[in-house]
């Protein structure tokens, strides 16, 4: 029996590669949230100040507070789960979680598998260098070694492949032609290599301004280069494809959060400034 079962599991796993189904029924997710009075939110646990584990071992951060606020306005409480980022962005959630409030950029690729009801803020991305570095403009970075986090907009940007077709985002150009691009598994990887010294492993990194600022506050010997931001990353709430009712409801809630200043005050609390409009 167990052998058969194991074979089934194996075959299932292989078969699953070929099959791709699983769009949620219209309104199904919204119904589930309102019936259970619980909204399951997928988020990261290692990405301060967006979402991280605080001193009391609870999830905390900008995204976590926004998610709790959205759940409250749906008449539910938020429960958080923390799958790997790539599993969230891959879509086909199969009802494992209802919504991602995880600062996700609505790239063209992702809109094929996910719906993005609303953009709730914009993060400026900057180039950062070691404190002792003499590089002080984007033009000086041509031919240098640049570190980025893999699977993010920063990797697409440095490779000249970033396309953002969301409204309200200022135009940008990928004008830096790096010599070598180093890709890391998480957002702290580039920072940790940059702190080792100017040009030891990387000459510069591309990272979100809030991340760079948080690192500087913790004593990392780095600085953002004195130039206008490389690009603004629009960050959206994501849901699985196909639930138009939930989509409309979330659009409405985020608009309300913006209108009554809740988002602005949360942004000021966690980032020290208002990121809800791209400047």
């Amino acid at each position: 029996m167990s052998l058969l079962k194991s074979l089934c599991l194996g075959a299932a796993a292989i078969g699953a590669l070929a099959i791709s189904t699983g769009a949620a029924n219209a309104g199904a997710t919204l119904d589930r949230i309102t019936q259970k009075k619980e909204m399951v939110v997928a988020t990261a646990a290692n990405w301060p100040p967006q979402s991280f584990m605080n001193k009391d071992n609870q999830l905390d951060g900008f995204d976590v507070e926004v998610a709790k606020e959205i759940a409250k306005r749906l008449g539910a409480t938020a429960r958080f789960i923390t799958p790997e980022w790539g599993i969230i962005t891959a879509g086909n959630w199969n009802g494992r979680w209802d919504v991602s409030v995880g600062s996700m950029t609505p790239t063209t690729g992702r809109t094929r598998v996910l719906d993005f009801p609303a953009i709730y803020y914009y993060t400026p991305y900057v180039f950062a260098v070691h404190k002792t570095s003499k590089l002080d403009s984007r033009a000086a970075l041509n031919g240098k070694t640049v570190g980025v986090e893999g699977g993010t907009t920063s990797e697409d940007y440095i490779g000249g492949k970033l396309k953002i077709d969301a409204v309200g985002v200022p135009d940008f150009t990928a004008d830096v032609k790096p010599g070598t691009v180093k890709t890391y598994g998480d957002s702290v990887g580039p920072l940790d290599d940059l702190r080792l010294g100017d040009g030891v492993r990387v000459d510069a990194i591309v990272s979100a301004l809030p991340t760079v600022e948080a690192a500087v506050k913790r004593g990392y010997p780095i600085r953002a280069i004195n130039d206008k931001p490389a690009y603004h990353e629009p960050l959206a709430i994501a849901i699985d494809k196909g639930d138009a009712e939930l989509n409309a409801k979330l659009t409405e809630i985020v608009a309300a959060l913006k209108a009554d200043g809740t988002l602005k005050s949360l942004s000021e609390k966690w980032y020290g400034m208002d990121y809800t409009v791209a400047k």
């Binding site: 058969l4 194996g10 099959i19 071992n57 086909n92």
Partner: protein
């Protein structure tokens, strides 16, 4: 010179065969100590030891010696060579037991100095330790324990199927071991977690992790079970048959109880290995030790502290389990001393 002659360990505890020829110890020979000192000095000079943190600690001493900045590496390397060679010579005079303990202590303290040089925040580690244990270690242990139990059953069935003379059973069993031994565990975790829901059943993160671990380790352990069963002499089968036992009874009542003695010790090893491989299920969001090590401390950029703490915890658990395993092994070997 008499006191310096060595008596080698003999008898049943000896791993390799040590003969009774008495030789002078290598660590007492001048040529060996000379070569060692030379090698360390050369490595120190080539490695530019004068410019590392080690030499900086002795800066007042080296500054007083002639040659100044140019020869600082040479002096530091010579000093290091002298200390290390003397250390090797002295340790060489100890009895085997003391020698092992002393070298252990030295390597361990080197290790600690290495970590100490990271300038870690110990108060941060202490603050997080209880959560790492109650949530992380507990989850790691229970996932591994459930998985090894299921793997044990899978391996038993797999091995019996493999050794049967039924074509279907042999094919299925060998396909199973071939696939799950030939594919990285990480891929199996993803395949099960992401793949099964496509068939309509949404599997949770912990069941998916347990399924992947038990299928993978079940495949490895099938080979252990197979070897265990095959090691029982053919005469046992023939004797059982001659006494009128059926094939199934022979297997269950006579062969398996004897082969378990050979199967259980490597199963313990597999459990220790699984304990560390279970860190891979952190990718699907199970809050076990590795997951917490990667996420705790991120807001304060103290991830190195957490990784080192997790390393220490994994190591400690492994040491405890290895002790248990050794005890179990002795117990199982009891009836079979020669």
């Amino acid at each position: 010179m008499d006191g310096l002659w060595v008596k080698r360990t003999e008898g049943k505890d000896a791993g390799m065969y040590h003969d009774h020829v008495r030789r002078d110890r290598l660590t007492n020979k001048a040529w060996f100590l000379g070569v060692l000192a030379l090698a360390i000095t050369a490595a120190g000079i080539l490695g530019g030891i004068g410019h590392t943190g080690l030499a900086a600690a002795f800066a007042p001493v080296t500054a007083a010696l002639p040659g100044g900045e140019a020869l600082v590496s040479v002096w530091a390397a010579l000093g290091l060579a002298l200390i290390l060679t003397l250390n090797v010579h002295l340790l060489g005079r100890l009895s085997l037991r003391l020698q092992v303990a002393a070298v252990w202590l030295e390597v361990l303290s080197l290790f600690l100095v290495f970590f100490y040089s990271f300038d870690l925040s110990y108060s941060f580690i202490l603050g997080k330790l209880s959560f790492l244990i109650t949530q992380g270690v507990a989850t790691t242990l229970y996932i591994s324990a459930i998985s090894i139990a299921i793997a044990f059953v899978l391996a038993m069935i797999g091995a019996i199927a493999r050794l049967s003379n039924n074509g279907f059973a042999i094919a299925i069993s060998s396909f199973y071991t071939s696939f799950f031994r030939g594919v990285p565990l990480l891929i199996q975790i993803y395949l099960i977690y992401l793949g099964i829901p496509q068939l309509g059943y949404v599997i949770g993160a912990i069941p998916a992790g347990v399924a992947a671990l038990s299928l993978c380790y079940g495949a490895y352990m099938t080979e252990i079970f197979r070897a265990g069963i095959m090691s029982i002499p053919k005469g046992q089968w023939e004797a059982a048959r001659a006494l009128g036992f059926g094939p199934m009874h022979t297997l269950v009542l006579i062969i398996l109880p004897q082969s378990l003695r050979l199967i259980i010790p490597p199963t313990g090893n597999q459990f220790i290995a699984m304990l560390k491989d279970s860190s891979l299920v952190s990718v699907i969001g199970v809050w076990e030790l590795m997951f917490l090590a990667r996420t705790q401390g991120r807001d304060e950029f103290r991830h190195l502290e957490m990784l080192i703490t997790a390393a220490a915890l994994y190591w400690l658990i492994s040491i405890v389990l290895e002790q248990l395993q050794a005890r179990l092994e002795r117990r199982l070997a009891r009836g079979h001393r020669h």
